[in-house]
């Protein structure tokens, strides 16, 4: 027989005004298995808690029901008191007779009867509560950061500075990401590379950071605190250890006319190259598709001229396995490509803008490269088609963004601001030029943002036309921009020299594939989903994986850096203890009865359910059953409701507990 103690709280008069608390205590005393019941003015006060602790000892209680306020209010308090009294804290339950009773009913008899019923239910429940121990999971204090843009760099530096090892994986030959491509940044117009490159160098030199560039995450296994990550280091064809970064190979490479994607194909690079002069690591990579040696087996100039003998044509992809405890995903974004999309793609492209075939219709990032002092034009704004300086430039906003008919309905958030910046940069460089901006509305929330936007109009004389562009077409060497000015209500045609499209921010191509490897969820556009839009904006629902930057949604640099630091802080919190402790409300499998139908696995949103082989001592496979990884389990219990034989049970909410409560009706 159980020995339950029931403690009925008056909550001053909050409860006792409507509920006859003495009667409730009296009724509780009559319940089977209740060894002690009493009432007290304020159970949560120190004397109240002392009363509870004393009663536990005096009456040798093996369970506690505190009939008071909502468990959301004081469950922690009373569980702690119960623990201090020497009982397992999970043997304490709260009967909510305040929010669910005294405050919502006026009739004293009715409220008292209900309070008695509530206490009865909780008494039956607590009798069947099990002693639960917090779950400990060892934590490997190394973090993986995927993506070496500003988000990944910031997160990696923060975590590394806190003294933890970081493995940073970047797909491209150099870290830097999009920010390295930018000319200047809003709203201060400071040079992007000037603020970016020191951080890149810090990463390279940080003793706690292991940098894998030109590498990709191949496989991810494990769970919070204990991930195994397999990284593919793509063959660079240059030995990182030997290369001194002298650059002779690049200078001597006979194959020099390869469009450089870093420069949006406006500049050229050799087949052995670093994407940009400040690349980190400053070690070239051979573009095997365009290299003559790899195409025909002839040439070999770079190998011949390389003093340290670093060029290695035979290099193969390598695999590195890292054990990490946390993962920060910072894979960034791509810009919407207006060319025609294959059938079945929800993205339709922009046929009305010529599907990207008009050379002087460029996107915002290309404009950044044109405006960049280290760009292909040395910072001069020149048209791609004929290298002339454009005198009329039309900027078009919301290309792809907020365009449901194009398959994307969200706002890309950064375009209003960078277009304003573009108009300024343009005006600074082409004083007699005129910038026009077609826009829906200007979205400038951010410190100093609206002031910046106004400056582009008021000082830099950009003409903002509220309306959409319906068509662009080449007419001679001009581009005719047909649009509407809804403020005036007329059709507008502008003959422009250059058109700059503020194309939508999209997740990286293949973002969903990485998500599948990581077991994290993503939205319809393939942006990664945070666990809670408001309260857990940097965590994935999958424990131990955090998000930073535009992979989660369009973001500007300050937001990206903030989120990266936040993700880093989350990682550091996780790494602050050797063992990860969590509430033991997790599902457990009864392996004897589990028949391995894996319905539970199908409904588990956390991917916490694994297939476990049961073998006899000779090693013969007996059966395959479900196993719930307690580190990953979220504790929702959907598995149990789904399991036909109830072979998986959620601790704290077992069928036995629930059915006993129903039994009291």
């Amino acid at each position: 027989m159980s020995r339950i103690g029931v403690f009925v709280c008056h909550c001053g008069e909050n409860i006792s005004r409507t509920v006859d608390v003495e009667k409730v205590a009296e009724a509780a005393r009559g319940l089977l298995g209740v060894a002690h019941a009493c009432d007290y003015k304020y159970m949560c006060s120190d004397p109240g808690q002392a009363l509870l602790k004393k009663a536990v000892a005096e009456h040798r209680l093996d369970g506690v029901v505190v009939a008071a306020c909502s468990p959301r209010m004081h469950e922690k308090t009373f569980r702690k008191a119960t623990e201090q009294a020497g009982l397992n804290p999970f043997l304490c339950e709260m009967a909510n007779i305040r929010e669910h009773c005294s405050w919502v009913h006026e009739d004293r008899d009715e409220a008292t009867a209900k309070a008695i019923d509530i206490v009865h239910m909780l008494v039956e429940r607590v009798k069947r509560n099990r002693k639960l121990q917090p779950i400990s999971v060892p934590v490997t204090k190394t973090s993986l950061v995927i993506g070496g843009g500003i988000a990944g760099i910031q997160a990696a530096l923060d975590i590394a500075d806190a003294g933890h090892r970081v493995v940073l994986v970047e797909r491209e030959p150099s870290i830097g990401g999009h920010m390295a491509q930018l000319s200047e940044t809003f709203p201060t117009l400071d040079c992007s590379q000037c603020i970016m490159t020191p951080k890149m160098v810090d990463v390279a030199n940080h003793p706690n950071i292991t940098l894998h560039t030109y590498s990709e995450v191949e496989e991810v296994d494990g769970y919070i605190g204990n991930f195994q990550v397999k990284i593919r280091k793509k063959a660079r064809s240059v030995d990182m250890a030997r290369c001194t970064g002298c650059g002779v190979c690049m200078a001597k490479c006979p194959q020099k006319k390869i469009p450089n994607s870093f420069d949006r194909d406006l500049g050229m690079r050799p087949a052995i190259y670093v994407p940009f002069p400040q690349a980190v690591p400053n070690v070239p990579v051979i573009d095997r598709v365009n290299c003559t040696w790899f195409k025909s087996g002839k040439c070999g100039v770079c190998q011949k001229v390389c003093g340290p003998g670093a060029v290695d044509y035979a290099q193969q992809d390598e695999f590195v396995v890292e054990q990490v405890g946390a993962i920060v995903v910072a894979t960034g974004f791509n810009l919407y490509d207006i060319s025609e999309k294959p059938k079945g793609s929800p993205i339709k492209g922009y046929g009305e803008f010529g599907h990207g075939k008009i050379p002087d219709v460029i996107d915002g990032m290309t404009f950044e490269r044109l405006a960049s002092a280290s760009g292909p034009t040395g910072g001069k704004i020149l048209r791609p088609s004929d290298g002339r300086e454009p005198k009329q430039v039309v900027f078009v906003q919301c290309v792809g963004s907020r365009a449901r008919e194009k398959g994307i309905s969200y706002c890309s958030k950064i375009c209003c601001m960078y277009t304003a910046k573009h108009t300024m940069l343009y005006k600074h460089k082409v004083h007699d030029g005129q910038a026009y901006v077609f826009f829906m509305d200007a979205r400038t929330p951010g410190k100093g943002y609206d002031e910046f936007w106004r400056r582009s109009i008021e000082q830099e004389e950009a003409v903002y036309i509220r309306g959409m562009v319906s068509r662009l077409y080449q007419k001679g060497d001009k581009i005719v921009v047909m649009g509407s000015d809804i403020a005036v209500g007329i059709q507008v045609e502008i003959e422009a020299d250059l058109v700059v499209l503020a194309t939508a921010v999209q997740p990286r191509q293949g973002a969903e594939l990485l998500a599948q490897k990581l077991g994290i969820s993503y939205d319809q556009y393939n942006f990664y989903s945070e666990a809670h839009a408001k309260l857990r904006p940097v965590e994935c629902a999958t424990a131990g994986i955090y998000l930073a930057g535009a992979c989660q949604g369009p973001k500007d640099i300050p937001d990206t850096v903030s989120q990266a630091s936040a993700a880093a802080a989350k990682v550091m919190t996780l790494f602050a203890k050797d063992q990860l402790e969590r509430e033991p409300i997790v599902a457990k499998v009864n392996e004897r009865f589990c028949v391995g139908c894996f319905a539970c696995k199908k409904v588990c949103a956390y991917g916490a359910i694994e297939e476990k082989e049961i073998r006899d001592r000779q090693g013969n496979l007996v059966k395959v059953v479900a196993y719930v990884n307690p580190g990953v389990c979220g504790g929702c219990g959907t598995c149990q409701a789904t399991c036909p034989s109830k072979s998986v049970e959620l601790d704290g909410y077992t069928d036995e507990q629930i059915l006993a409560m129903i039994e009291t009706l």
Partner: protein, 168 residues
């Protein structure tokens, strides 16, 4: 704040059970409390982590154990603390209520709702509505009668005893 709950006594006061998730509806009911809203006292709340945990068997069992009405309530779609628990629950209960209907349980006794932590008012509305509806319908005899009935061979055919049995 509605402090105008009439304290009319009724001939029949139904027993209602509410199966709710802890994150949304339980919190919504708490909010109704902190806002001092008033509603009938007939409902007994059983707390779950998530509607995904609620097994249809519980609903059946509640009716068998004398509930006159059952309420199942959780987070709105998309708000699930556990991402998808309520989506699974939605399908499960869509199917289960059809089954109950097919065996002849009057679905007016079974209410499903989404009540968020901010919807104290909705909680009051849902509970009040169900209470009034079920009160109108009278006690749920079906399962009680079933529980009292035996195979003929096990009956102790005695009018007196039978009367006593039915008065229970």
């Amino acid at each position: 704040m509605t402090a105008t709950a009439t304290t009319t006594k009724h001939d029949f006061e139904p027993k209602l059970v509410a199966f709710v998730c802890t994150w949304c509806t339980y919190a919504g009911a708490d909010l109704a409390g902190t806002s001092r809203m008033q509603y009938p006292s007939n409902v007994r709340v059983v707390k779950f982590p998530c509607t995904g945990r609620i097994d249809p068997v519980f609903i059946l069992r509640a009716f068998q154990k004398g509930a006159d009405g059952v309420l199942v309530s959780g987070c709105h779609p998309g708000d699930c603390h556990y991402m998808a628990g309520n989506f699974h629950a939605r399908r499960r209960f869509a199917a289960f209520r059809q089954l109950l209907d097919f065996v002849g349980v009057d679905l007016k006794r079974l209410q499903f709702s989404w009540v968020s932590a901010a919807e104290g008012g909705k909680w009051v509305e849902v509970v009040t509505e169900l209470t009034e509806r079920v009160r109108e319908m009278g006690p749920m005899r079906e399962f009680i009668d079933l529980d009292a009935s035996e195979h003929w061979s096990a009956e102790l055919a005695d009018a007196e005893l039978k009367a006593a049995y039915h008065s229970l």
